[in-house]
């Protein structure tokens, strides 16, 4: 990409330093828990020790006797206002507080309102709840067996634990391709429950001001406008109208998808504030965060892949059980129940595919949010990348060579996949070749052969993923009917400085910097002179928020479009000032010049001043614009990752020795920030590959519900990432850019899993489920007599 602006202007392609950093490095950020309002009360939550139990009685007497405790709020209290249940995005229902029974361990049972953080916790500790335990359903396969206890007894006529069945693709063509295939491989792949575990947990301060009749909520949310509308729709009957609701998302300490949903704690805090007229703060602790907030994944996948005799892939067939916990509360705005899982044909030119997914209820918390990925894309990528590797090994072909042969080729773009997606652009072979060159692939294969001869276990794994981000075109996406556009509003001040507001919300991605760079690119106003604001629904234009790597594809595009509207008006003003026709003007970032008379020009700053002081007769004053951008398609970033692992035969420990990541996200706004996103994404791919898992014992006790046993990697375990890129611009995005925040999380786990299996294939190991922990590997080695 060629640079069109100087470093001082700081348009696209410049690694300018971040505008948000000066406050963060001084400890001067404002996160939700930093906000304190006069007279503020504290909310703490009583949670269930049982995974499934009837609530016989809630006795608040002891709690109310604790000094400072003002009230205990139960489901019965909320039921008076019909706020004890709330709808989910997936047309299911979720309890705010239970009236009859609890459905998972750590479920909210009651709220305790007090004058201090400590008093609220003291009160919550002594609320006495009498439970009558009910049979627990943990395994989604058993949940579907006849005679399994029926969990959703609140739903009249519900006679089983099956939520929905969804299938996509041409079943007959796929079955035919399998019947004709020379080789087929089949594997069961489980992608376990994990949790985003942003270092800041979730929380809010709800303040219903009776004098103003207005609710203001400071909230850890990635989607403030959508939250406002949902509040208005759900609580309209108690008098919360949308113009009287203000959502403020201040600095957010990491989101990754976990701060998209509306959790019961937010609703209880709002209800408590409306009832008391006082500000109410609720901040969850880490264990509440891990145990009750939205999980990701939990897909039980059975996949089959078919190939012709010459090794050309022909068809993919997948059946999946999706464990949704007790309700389908997936933060999935697509029109498909399994999100974008049907991008599972990946980077390969498959002619037929068929996918079936069944959603199941179990006694686990709801969720099904993304863990730094677009709605089930990681599940899709992990499946296809594992299966392609298994096929390559089965055929005895090098996995790199096998991928090269089966990739969708550059000239096939735009490419319509067998499952209906239209990939915008790609050059998969170039990315893989670059990764191979960078890591020294051939040498590594020689080293591996030598080591194997000596009995040492070394593996090389590849993942050549295709992402699908930037939700999204309104034909595929909506939130309660709201189309998934995003927005930018720009105002240029008379002195040529600007403010721009967006409908998205950064959680660390650096929007204040990168959006300013887009505007600098389009207008030539230095990025330093442009203030970017997001997260306050009273001031920002309506937008759907930041998740699914959509900020650059959607709001970034809106920024370019709004800037171009400003440029159009600026041209008229420049023509007026220079006394020439508009057609006689030439634009370069920052100024209009008269064609053939380069000395005759007006800068954008001159034009901004004139917009308020000397604009043409009949033209409105000012220089501002707003754009709501509904993308025509998703963007399809991609990449190739190669990972080298060494396995300790004594302990089963997998050590990632090297990891090379080549990413392609089209044109890059700020290379420094993009590389940072890749580093972070890789680490959040590495984590579930080797460490992170939330599981449950047979009675529904959570395992992995604190940082003691939910293993977020430290700097010691985390590999020294080696990164690079290729650049294949998106043809439909006004800047040629694609999303990038999640690519690495989507692509990395398969590279690691493939490397482990590559190290063990000669021992007869075909597959290992993530997380690939030392005990898992040690058991495999012991069963094969490799270790004692």
């Amino acid at each position: 990409m060629t640079l069109r602006t100087s470093l001082e202007v700081g348009g696209m392609g410049h690694s300018i330093k971040r505008k948000e950093d000066p406050r963060f490095i001084r400890g001067r950020g404002t996160y939700v828990d930093d906000v304190v309002l006069p007279g503020m009360l504290w909310l703490d939550i009583v949670r269930s020790p049982h995974a499934h139990a009837k609530i016989v009685k809630i006795d608040s007497a002891k709690a109310l006797a604790v000094p400072g405790v003002l009230a205990v709020i139960t489901g019965q209290d909320l039921a008076k206002y019909n706020l004890h249940w709330m709808p989910t995005l997936m047309s299911d229902t979720q309890m705010v507080l239970p009236v009859e029974k609890v459905m998972y361990q750590a479920q909210e049972v009651a709220g305790v309102l007090a004058t201090s953080r400590y008093a609220a916790a003291d009160g919550a500790a002594v609320v006495e709840v009498e439970y009558e335990p009910l049979p627990v359903v943990v395994d989604p396969k058993k949940a579907l067996e006849p005679g399994a206890p029926i969990l959703r007894t609140d739903k009249k006529d519900k006679k089983d634990n099956h939520i929905w069945h969804w299938e996509w693709g041409d079943r007959a063509a796929t079955d035919r391709a399998f019947a004709e295939a020379a080789v087929t491989v089949k594997e069961d792949i489980y992608i376990p429950r994990i949790h985003v575990a942003s270092i800041e947990t979730c929380g809010c301060i709800a303040h219903f001001d009776k004098a103003l009749d207005k609710l203001t909520v400071w909230m850890t949310t990635q989607a403030p406008h959508a939250i406002r509308t949902v509040f208005a729709l759900v609580a309209g009957h108690v008098g919360l109208a949308e113009h009287k609701i203000r959502i403020i998302a201040p600095d957010i300490g990491g989101g990754f998808g976990g701060k998209v949903p509306i959790y019961p704690g937010y609703v209880i805090a709002v209800a408590a504030s409306v009832l008391t007229g006082k500000p109410v703060k609720w901040i969850e602790d880490r264990m509440e965060n891990l145990q009750a907030d939205s999980f990701a994944r939990d897909y039980h996948i059975s996949a089959e892949l078919a190939a012709a005799k010459d090794g050309r892939l022909t068809a993919l067939r997948i059946k999946t059980l999706a464990d949704h916990g007790y309700t389908d509360a997936a933060a999935n705005p697509s029109k498909f129940p399994a999100g974008l899982f049907h991008v599972c044909t990946g980077s390969y030119d498959l002619k037929a595919a068929h996918v079936e997914v069944d959603g199941v209820y179990t006694n686990k918390p709801p969720g099904g949010i993304a863990y730094r990925c677009s709605f089930r894309v990681t599940e899709a990528v992990h499946t296809i990348e594992r299966m392609v590797d298994i096929m390559a090994h089965q055929l005895g072909v090098d996995p790199a060579e096998f991928r090269m042969k089966n990739f969708i080729q550059p000239e096939q773009f735009p490419y319509k996949s067998a499952l209906g997606w239209e990939y915008d652009s790609g050059n998969y072979g170039a990315a893989l070749q670059k990764a191979m060159d960078m890591i020294g692939y051939a040498d590594l294969r020689r080293e591996q052969a030598d080591k194997r001869a000596r009995g040492e276990l070394m593996g090389i794994g590849i993942s050549s993923f295709t992402e699908i981000v930037g939700a999204g075109p309104s034909k595929h996406f909506d939130i309660l009917g709201l189309k998934m556009f995003d927005s930018c509003e720009i105002r240029i001040h008379p002195t040529g400085k600007a403010i721009a507001r967006f409908g998205t919300k950064s959680q660390g991605q650096g929007h204040e910097t990168t959006y300013a760079q887009i505007l600098a690119e389009e207008l030539g106003i230095p990025a330093a002179d442009i203030q970017v604001e997001e997260g306050d629904t009273d001031t920002a234009p309506y937008g759907l928020g930041t998740y699914a790597s959509r900020s650059t594809p959607v709001a970034g595009a809106a920024a370019a479009m709004a800037a171009r509207k400003i440029q159009d008006k600026a041209r008229k003003i420049a023509a007026h000032l220079l006394e020439v026709a508009e057609a006689d003007l030439e634009w370069e970032p920052g100024k209009f010049s008269v064609k053939g008379a380069p000395g005759k020009s007006k800068t954008i700053q001159d034009i901004a001043f004139a917009a308020y002081t000397n604009h043409p007769q009949g033209m409105e004053a000012g220089l501002e614009a707003v754009s709501y951008y509904d993308p025509p398609n998703l963007t399809y970033p991609f990449g190739s990752y190669i990972c080298v692992v060494d396995i300790d035969k004594g302990t089963g420990e997998v050590k990632v020795r090297r990891f090379v990541a080549i990413d392609d996200c089209g044109n890059i706004i700020n290379p420094m920030i993009v590389e940072g996103q890749i580093h972070g994404g890789l680490t959040m791919g590495f984590a579930p590959a080797l460490f992170e898992e939330i599981s449950y014992d047979e009675v529904g006790n959570i395992q992995g519900g604190s940082f003691i046993d939910y293993l977020v990697p430290t700097a010691v375990e985390t590999p020294k990432w080696e990164t690079g890129n290729t650049c294949t611009p998106s043809p439909h995005h006004p800047l040629g850019a694609k999303g990038v925040g999640e690519s690495a999380t989507v692509g990395a786990p398969a590279a690691i899993a493939n490397a482990v299996v590559d190290a063990l294939w000669h021992l007869g190991v075909r597959h290992v489920d993530i997380p690939i922990t030392p005990p898992k590997v040690w058991k495999l080695l012991r069963e094969r007599g490799v270790t004692e």
């Binding site: 330093k17 971040r18 948000e20 950093d21 000066p22 406050r23 963060f24 490095i25 001084r26 400890g27 001067r28 950020g29 404002t30 996160y31 828990d33 930093d34 304190v36 953080r117 400590y118 985003v196 575990a197 942003s198 270092i199 800041e200 947990t201 600095d251 957010i252 300490g253 990491g254 990754f256 602790d285 880490r286 264990m287 959680q507 660390g508 991605q509 650096g510 420094m672 920030i673 590389e675 940072g676 580093h679 972070g680 994404g681 890789l682 680490t683 959040m684 604190s706 940082f707 003691i708 977020v712 430290t714 700097a715 010691v716 985390t718 020294k720 990432w721």
Partner: protein, 158 residues
């Protein structure tokens, strides 16, 4: 109980419950909100502060245990309008994204560089292993700490 202590060179006095955690004294009572809370089990390090020269996780120290002691928080790093080399390093090397773990990372790194002014990259990784970051993948944090180490060795402020 009365607690007198010094934070960033300024004397403070407060009447606290014996069970009050130091992090809550710093954040909720004294309103220095740069120090953050990220877990309940002393794993994440977002609450790290310097207590008499040592980095401690202030969620695991009672306020009363800090009686009469010198504490330094992230707000104390900048001196006379001049950023500490670690603050400069985190900005220059893109060592932060959401900024939530950053104050703890800065304070842990501060104590670490006092003990080990010429670390290897692996030393830095071990030195910050009590602090979790979910955004950066640590690569640039290591570079940021090395930036500061080099600058301090060249005679920048310590």
């Amino acid at each position: 109980m009365r607690v007198q202590l010094s934070i960033n060179g300024e004397k403070h006095e407060a009447d606290v419950e014996p069970r009050l955690l130091l992090v809550h004294l710093i954040r909720d009572v004294l309103r220095l909100t740069g120090t953050h809370i990220g877990c309940d089990t002393t794993h994440c390090g977002a609450c790290a502060v310097i207590l008499d020269g040592r980095a401690v996780k202030s969620c695991t120290v009672f306020a009363v245990q800090a009686r009469g002691k010198e504490i330094m928080t992230v707000e104390g790093l900048e001196q006379d309008g001049k950023l500490h080399p670690l603050q400069e390093g985190f900005m220059a090397e893109h060592g932060l994204q959401c900024g939530y773990c950053t104050p703890g990372m800065l304070m842990t790194s501060y104590a670490f560089l006092q003990k080990n002014p010429t670390p290897t990259d692996d030393d830095v990784r071990r030195g910050i292993s009590g602090n979790l970051c979910r955004c950066t993948g640590y690569v640039n944090i290591v570079k940021a700490v090395q930036y500061a180490a080099a600058k301090i060795r060249q005679g920048g402020a310590a």
